[in-house]
Amino acid sequence: MTENNVFRQEFLVKGGDFLRAGNVSWEIRNLLREIGMPSSIVLRAAIATYEAELNIIMYAWEGKLHLSVMPGRIHILAEDSGPGIEDIELAMTEGYSTATLEMRELGFGAGMGLANIKKNTDAFVITSEVGRGTRLELTFLTNGQRP
């Protein structure tokens, strides 16, 4: 895979910025559509990206989403500087959430985020360092087969 046929774009996400929540995933969704990705994959990517974006807004100080699109696959790296996750396995559990009351009042923080990302991606890697930040790697295969 040469660098020539990879589309890359970076998106900044600010922690606590609920006003713009969803803007980055909306932009990524539209980009993927314009590139002509199949709509079922665009939909999964949009859902997973939205969750990743919201995780940064809710829990981190700031973060970035790096989108790379190449023939056959979409790769999204969400990296944040934030408190990190102590127990990843627990965080992945559906319904488990450390969201504050305020976040829940806004309709966020149902504890489905990471599980939803896993469900919608073809490959999902999560690493975290407490006190430093979290890194999510989302991969979508675009040439038909889901592993």
Partner: protein
Amino acid sequence: MTNDTHHSVRINLEKCLGCVHCMIACPTKAIRIREGKARIIDELCIDCGECLRFCPEDAVESKTTSVSDLKAVPYKVVIPSTVLYGQFDNATLPNEILFALRRIGFDYVYEISTICELNNSALEMYLNAHPTPRPLISSTCPVVIRLIQRRFPSLCGHIVPIEPPRENAAKILRANLPRIAKVPASSIKIFHITPCPAKMVSINHPASMEKSYLDGAISIRDIFKTIYQTLHQNREETIMSHLFPETIFSGTGVGTALSGGETRGLKSHRTVAVSGVRDTIRALNQAELGLLKDVDLLECTVCPDGCIGGPLTVENRYLAKSRILRLVAMMGERTVVDSSDMNQLYNKDFLSFHFPIKPLESPPLDADPAQAITKAKRRNELFLQLPRKDCGACGAPDCRTLADDIVRGQAALEDCPFVKKEEK
């Protein structure tokens, strides 16, 4: 005219000054200024009519049925939208308006509020019978249908497959009028009086049936003056129309002129009513992401406050809204639709779509994904060279769209006046 598309709006090239108002207002970026005139891009237009609202020169025209075209029709039937009832002063009751339409020369005037109520009950039955998917989206606003087809294809299956009241009213008339009025079916033409141009598209290019039951749509703007003048012609007849109310109105049905009109009666379902084109896009995006799974019915109307805010209305929408609310209060909440009739129609699929709504996806940057990636990269590079003033002078609504047009081969970097200056 060269800019004739299958859309409901057209630019009058003589009146168009080539200013940027419509282009900037367009929520789907479907307008460009080319050779000094606004052009609508067919594949992007959703017929919302925002351009019509914003044009200072009145150069955006709706392609609705003109009143003069009606003369040749042997048997003219009209179904006015309930929005029409809010366009006159408080003293003018719906009965008088219907009466005036008869005097103008319509052979048959059909009052739609009962069918609107019928539609609401059908929606409720559909919701009860179909626990998934959620949210379901009502089908009344034709622009919402276009938006979903073009921008939210995955939501096509969420649209409640029940035809909107105007279509079902026309269908009922077609089935019964030849017998009742003793006229051959072929000489009957049915027209809707509409607050928006989009109804014309749903008539000419229906998304859920082969052929619409309606023959045309007349703009409220076009027919308002004639009705107004007729209203004040004969006071005696007006009094008679009060004394002999021929029509049974449904308060619930009249209320569908306003946003929330379809959801208000649904007591046992969770509903959300959204109005305005930008908020509708936002809500559909949330629905697509699965964030509205706890909502049973999502009612979206792209005009502000619902159909009452349509671009072809004449009255200030706040006044019009207050009048509709007053009528709803006057007519009360009592149901006029017989529930067993309703059940029969529903079970016979009389009210349903003929076929499901299919996605109509807009073309990607390139049919070949590798090429599309190259073009997307090129577009980002181009965007960095542009001033990001979004001035519209190049003929595109903003710098990002210009970059997009360039990679699609429809514009050149030199179209930007700022880029030129720097190069010189």
